[in-house]
Symmetry: D2
């Protein structure tokens, strides 16, 4: 149905594993253990991550990094990467930074995110890197921040989040 | 490990048209004309929209609606729809609400979004609807708000955005 | 250079009652009862409200309104009302809208606010009105929105907030 | 009318100079020069700053710090410092950080702020310090972040802002 280089590059085939199985596995681990298991491929990455092409890179307590190769599949109708991509990437690193701080049996849920778009992102950028850092851990809420950096060292987007946390 | 129907449902094949061509077409129209052309299929939808499965529904001056069938491909690692999905959907309806207010030759760029997650979204929800509304049009910045509603009439997420606007 | 009435108008004398006493009184009431007691003067308004000149106007379940006469004492260094004033007013109506929804023994604490500045506010505006509305009540978090309207019917600022809620 | 130590501490008398005069003076200077003139007392601080008791401490290109002695006049009705105080302080340091980056003739206006409340603030805290830092300077918008730190070294609140910038 599609032929030629151009057409081939405009189809994306994405496969994923049962996210419920991965979620069940993760619940038997601390947040950090679950994230390391995903990085090492012992737990499958969630579908949305496969869909966009996000790669989990590193996880340590309170800090997570991920990478994303900018492709045309991420474009908006006005000629650059859709704002939802930076939001998804930053929500991921910020939420996982919170997750990386939680022991077994402690749960989080994102209450809100704010994303600031400092510079437009295009395919010319290549690979971008996002890092999420916990700012404060509380009894009812954790706070984290994130930023996306290009291979040029410039910051392309920043984010902040509030997550509810509680014990199962 | 996976076979049959279940495995088939865990692959997603997405195709799209050249987004630069669509962007060039859109620049010859007012924002509202470009959005109506997308809804009617005369301009192809942007890749990210196809990737998630977002459907553009309606556009009028200052107001845009879109729909999304919740599927497993949108899941996060903790058993519900990833926060980036609501962010992408709300960024789309809010940005397009601003776009729908702009004459030919006037351009917008999203400076920031905030997304609030009121309730978790799962596949049981089926189809969600998002609407974006312009709150204020200015010389240098436009402001819009958005919300995602389920078939149960409940609000699942809300958003607000600031867009820079200028004449080419 | 300044003399007489003009100079007098550049001093503001503010008095308030013990906020701990008011807080203790309020804890014996539902949120709505406490707010109505403040509006009717049976509980003293908090100091910050007196400091800026905010007037509590109405309270009903999930909705609160307040007024503020714009004065020079609220000005920033660039010739208009300081952004902190709209933030304080919106934080007040949004937090009180959440408070108005809580029974005795249920407590709230503001996790975050976002404030959008749609138009500059100056003394020429006279009296502004703010309303706060609850958008969603949850087990762990409540969400509210607010807006400031001028006597001209235009919206000058909008806000959104996330509040943690719990039982004592 | 008021007597005794307690009563005396519950009245606050605030005076300020014509903010229009200060604004006019500031327009003949770069942002950094205007901020340094305020710190050194050559331009009068804006009324809202006097009202709350904020002290401007330092200004350098892209970075501003201010201090605030927590007093009862800043309290909310639920026994701690009102969220509007942190918002005003963070809006001030973030806006001034942007201002400190602007040459003569270049103007800014705050489009939005987000404030996160990490920990409650009470009088026991004493003096808090806020710093604002520019994250990105653009042609149409500048972005800055801020945080409030206590004498214990803990972060009590964080903020982010988007400011429109343009040439007169």
């Amino acid at each position: 149905m599609f032929s030629g280089i151009s057409a081939v590059s405009r189809t994306r085939i994405v496969s994923w594993s049962d996210p419920a199985a991965a979620a069940a596995q993760a619940q038997t681990m601390s947040g950090l253990e679950a994230l390391l298991a995903m990085i090492e491929g012992r737990i499958s990455a969630p579908p949305i991550i496969e869909l966009l092409g996000i790669k989990m890179l590193t996880a340590e307590p309170g800090r997570v990094t991920m990478g994303l190769q900018i492709g045309e599949h991420l474009y908006n109708p006005i000629g650059s990467v859709h704002g939802g991509v930076a939001a998804t990437l930053l929500d991921s690193v910020m939420g996982c930074a919170v997750h990386s701080s939680l022991p077994i049996g402690r749960i989080y849920s994102t209450l809100e995110i704010k994303i600031s778009y400092l510079r437009p992102m295009t395919q010319a950028l290549g690979m971008i890197t996002a890092e999420g850092n916990v700012i404060s851990l509380g009894r009812k809420a954790d706070f984290a921040e994130g930023r996306i950096t290009g291979p040029d060292g410039k910051i392309y987007a920043t984010g902040s989040t509030t997550c509810a946390v509680w014990d199962l």
